[in-house]
Symmetry: C2
Subunit: 657 residues, 2 copies
């Protein structure tokens, strides 16, 4: 592959770049981080790159999907439609600043005279010579996982470019018969938006849509495919994207220029890594991952600069990953996904500081590292809040971690609050039990008082100091099991590791210790000890209760979760499958069934907690994040074991009013 | 309209009914309340009505949309597809119990050999003579507000009935050319599912879809339209439904038999009120609202029994409602919607009891009434938790209310907890401010400590007593303004009035006092005093801070909310509109702009709170319930005032890298 190091924008001054681009055929990929609805700042960013691209004589500068208004807009455009009118105003003015360089800018287009269907198109405009030269509208609308395009967006009845005068007035009735290809300086571009590229019928076993825009554009004479995208990162997504782009470019014999959004929007993290793939399916240019970037490529000549992809991912690009509890190749991506998620949530919400409880355990330790790296150590306060059950080792681990990270740290006992609350609650319970006689003889109340007293401290700080929120440190495995206290450890302004399973957290902690500039921030004992919330005494052992004893071994639990999320296995499938854990340790069938029963029982009761989980970042290929997965809370009576035909007949035979 | 009182199932024994139905042409509308994924209990309910319908010689018995698996299933079928296989097993066994009476049963149908598109159809099967006689699949898939059908459901390429052997194997390639009408005992039925009925192109100004299934069925010879529905209730929905059904039946000259689901699923309440409308557009039969029911109708003879609709709604059936702050006609529906919402949430989650703080204010008083009526007074515990700011009037109002309702009641001071927490927090703050020097001189911390101490009590009770959850008493107006404490009053297992604006709550409280069997449960002073959280002292007056002074007049606030939600008005529209409140009181332009600025500012910061709101029931025509409306939390920097063209040009003129 030809590498043109001279193309690197940071290492060349404008005059060098002007020499390089003089031959023509160069386009700029403006991989920007936008804020939803923040038209002023988004437009300003777009305008800067338009001016820059003009200065260095690029033929074209390309922005991500919906660059002007941000992606995803969710229901904002329905409730506050003025924002759509505003985005048209900004679009027209952006057209006004263009000259010879064409700018491809994404925006929401109202359907002012629509006869039927949704109210908007998801469009890009081609801006050049001070005006709008044409408009392309998205044909394929994803509506699964984190995507909800079809709520307000009408699929375009036609692929490729349509005349500028259709702006806001386009419909199936006025499709132009003229050219759908955008020709610029003798090169023919087929312009598409995100999902339009994701329907190759030979690549996907079960394509989602009937139409394939890329084939249509190829048939209409496109020499280069442009794709304006907002494609989120999650586990295994880079593998899929890499393989899909290579396959499509090679099978269509067409170079593809893919410009992806970067930055996080609430729960969704976009990784950038915009790229050019030549007609042989080889990558000839790639922008940075998880950072804004501007790269210049010549798609017909395969010229560009390749930034390395996130560490580890290259290795797995052609892998069909199976569950092994080995997460090594994905940890750098996990790190960057969460760091960007925290940083953008804070920046876009006008927040600056985080406060979290440091228990000396794995979850809070990993969270502290991530927060220090995302926000700066001076903006993080770790609070050790020991109770009578907190071991001296936990206390010293919390202190050591904070020292290693250089974050702010203090220790304060929860004893006065816990003692007072216990007395008050016991007074109250005595009044209640006069009416409700079935008080539990053994409850979680004392455990929860501890967790809630800690949250009381943390929320107090966030009320008392500017731009500060508390952090919920719950991990994915424990959330699946409802092993988290409402208004306690699962409460916070943000939940950084809510989509990271516990077994991955162990690997992640080791990876952080090895790969951060400052090594071994997390004390070894934090990683080596068995996780336990230190909230209660195990009556069997007299020691603090171990989380795995309360639940089941994390290796087993995480494999159940992985199999359900990724392979859609049922209770019966799980009983019949040999787990990695079973290969390692002897597990009796009775024990396995007991764990599985406990899993489904706890999961059914945890659905409520999933619904009120604070904002968190989607990391894995599937999640319980409510922007990604919802299940009715009232579906708790599902029998996950299913029924035999004989049993069904028996039940139905008793059906009488 | 011919009323056939003999048709009333409750007043006639089976022999009477057999005489009535002997002439043929009678169908049963089985308006059932299902649980999502609870196949056993749903199927058992269906089987009972199938057997009953057979006994009384009905031609047909019709169930709501997706009756077997429940509606909506959300993402359950994606993550746990075994449940779909199970629903096919149950469907086949239900077919096995049918005889002469046809049963129309909704289910999720997998597309086992799909070439492209989604994995499932939303279908109904016609079961008769021990087998499946045919299948109808939903063509129009709603994907707005609380609807998400298109996430997993493929729209049917064809309207009407298809052969039984297409079960699980249907696609656009094997559409049968034969009859799409289901003929039974010489009557021709056109069978449809929910949204299929909601696209009359003369009724809807902007129809959502190109296709109109009803017209197709009419053209194919249908004499009666059957519609299996799951249509939620919300403000103004009954008006729309009534008018749409009457218009469609009249304009198509076809009777319509509409069978609606009843019961609540998490946030969504379905009101039943299944009905028959004759070809003149007149209702000839209607089942109960908000209750399971079974009614018998003869659609060609317009025979049936009309249950009265929810009080008040008849009056408004042809109204185009404008904002008047008069809610009278909607209060009975609001009551039933919330009561059903609470009851079904509790029942379907296996809960029994609720505990709530009684402040003597409007919100908690209304919640207490609703809980007592929904769960039984013995299952409700009201706790008065006064602080030093609580007036003696508030305390005595709380006590009076509890006495009037007969719910359990006790009083307990929060003083020890608040005092201890304040001391502990102040200790902590002194440690924090050594590093973060910009501590607020005036914070909400003391207010929030009170709210959170109360939540500590309530969650403690729910941990200590079986099947009990605390109730979040926040109302819609205050949630819009973020005037609710996280882990405090907005925390709970359920939030009954989160979609009821404050001005409506006043009307609602009066209505409750007049319309419940036991009158005047809510003390007059609760309704007459100005709302205030009694959490802080107003420095201006030295009295406890009044909520309207902290926010703005509720009448103004609620009109802003109503105009944005129902008319999609922008900041500029609102400035330019004369409010009802302005008609009543003089409001300077400066004051109005100040309130509007405060509104948008507080709303932008409240988005986080909307995202973690406990389950609540959708009541109004639009809501902030996250099952209904989502807006990125990180969209807080939107400028709702918009920009002038001149300002846009000025901003863009400064765009340089």
């Amino acid at each position: 592959m030809p590498l043109l190091s001279g193309i690197k924008t940071e290492e060349n001054d404008i005059k060098d770049l002007q020499v390089i681009t003089a031959g023509g055929g160069f386009v700029g990929l403006a991989q920007i981080n936008t804020s939803i609805g923040d038209l002023k700042n988004n437009a300003l960013k777009i305008a800067k790159y338009i001016n820059y691209a003009e200065t260095i004589n690029l033929d074209m500068v390309i922005f991500p999907e919906l660059a002007l208004i941000g992606y995803p807009v969710y229901d904002l455009i329905e409730r506050h439609p003025f924002i759509v009118d505003e985005n048209i105003k900004w679009l027209k003015e952006l057209a006004g600043i263009t000259q010879k360089t064409a700018a491809i800018v994404g925006f929401i287009e109202p359907r002012e005279k629509f006869a039927e269907g949704k109210r908007y198109y998801n469009s890009v405009a081609i801006l050049r010579n001070g005006k709008i030269e044409g408009i392309v509208r998205k044909s394929l609308l994803p509506n699964y996982s984190e995507f909800n395009d079809y709520r307000y967006i009408e699929p375009s009845p036609v692929v490729g470019i349509q005349p500028a005068d259709t702006l806001c007035h386009f419909s199936a009735d006025n499709v132009s018969k003229s050219e759908i290809i955008y020709a610029l300086n003798s090169i023919k571009y087929g312009i598409t938006i995100c999902e339009d590229l994701w329907n190759n019928k030979d690549f996907f076993e079960k394509p989602m849509y009937a139409k394939d825009p890329i084939t249509e554009l190829k048939n209409a004479g496109a020499e280069v495919i442009i794709n304006c995208s907002a494609s989120p990162t999650r586990a295994r997504k880079e593998q899929l994207k890499h393989n899909m782009l290579a396959f499509t470019a090679f099978s269509q014999k067409l170079p593809i220029v893919y410009v992806n959004q970067v930055g996080a929007v609430d729960n969704i993290s976009f990784d950038g890594a915009s790229r050019g793939v030549n007609k042989y399916g080889d990558i000839f240019a790639r922008a940075k991952s998880f950072d804004e970037d501007f790269i210049i490529v010549n798609p017909l000549k395969s010229e560009g600069e390749i930034e390395p992809i996130t560490d580890g991912l290259e290795k797995s690009l052609n892998e069909q990953k199976v569950f092994t509890l080995e997460y090594e190749s994905d940890l750098a991506r996990t790190y960057k996904t969460i760091i960007q998620g925290i940083r953008d949530y804070f920046n876009k919400c006008g927040l600056k500081r985080a406060v979290l409880g440091l228990s000396g355990g794995l979850d809070s330790s990993v969270c502290a590292v991530l927060l220090a790296d995302a926000l700066g150590k001076e903006n993080v306060f770790g609070i050790s809040m020991p109770s009578k059950l907190t071991s001296s080792e936990s206390k010293s681990d919390a202190q050591k971690l904070a020292n290693n990270l250089g974050i702010n740290f203090t220790e304060i006992s929860i004893k006065p609050m816990v003692d007072t609350t216990e007395v008050c609650l016991n007074d109250l319970f005595k009044k209640i039990e006069k009416k409700w006689a079935d008080r539990y003889s053994n409850s979680f109340t004392p455990d929860n008082i501890q967790a809630r007293s800690r949250a009381m401290y943390l929320w107090g700080i966030s009320n008392e100091f500017p731009s500060c929120i508390p952090i919920a440190t719950s991990d994915k495995s424990e959330l699946y099991m409802g092993y988290a206290t409402v208004n306690g450890d699962m409460s916070g302004g943000f939940a950084p590791i809510a989509d990271v399973p516990k077994t991955k957290l162990f690997a992640f902690a080791r990876w952080l210790n090895l790969n951060r500039t400052s090594k071994n921030a997390i004390p070894k004992s934090v990683i080596e000890k068995k996780p336990g919330a230190e909230l209660a005494i195990d009556p069997k052992t007299g020691k603090t209760l171990n989380a795995e004893d309360a639940l089941m071994p994390y290796e087993f639990l995480d494999e159940v979760i992985w199999r359900i999320e990724n392979k859609n296995e049922s209770y019966k499938d799980l009983v019949g499958t040999e787990f990695v854990y079973e290969n390692k340790c002897y597990v009796s069938r009775q024990q396995k069934v007991e764990w599985l029963n406990k899993f489904y029982d706890r999961m059914s009761k945890a659905l409520y907690k999933w619904a009120i989980l604070p904002p968190s970042i989607i990391v894995e290929s599937r999640s319980i994040n409510k922007a990604d997965y919802t299940q009715p809370i009232t579906s708790g009576k599902i029998n996950y074991k299913g029924y035999s035909i004989a049993r069904i007949r028996q039940i139905l035979s008793q059906a009488n009013l």
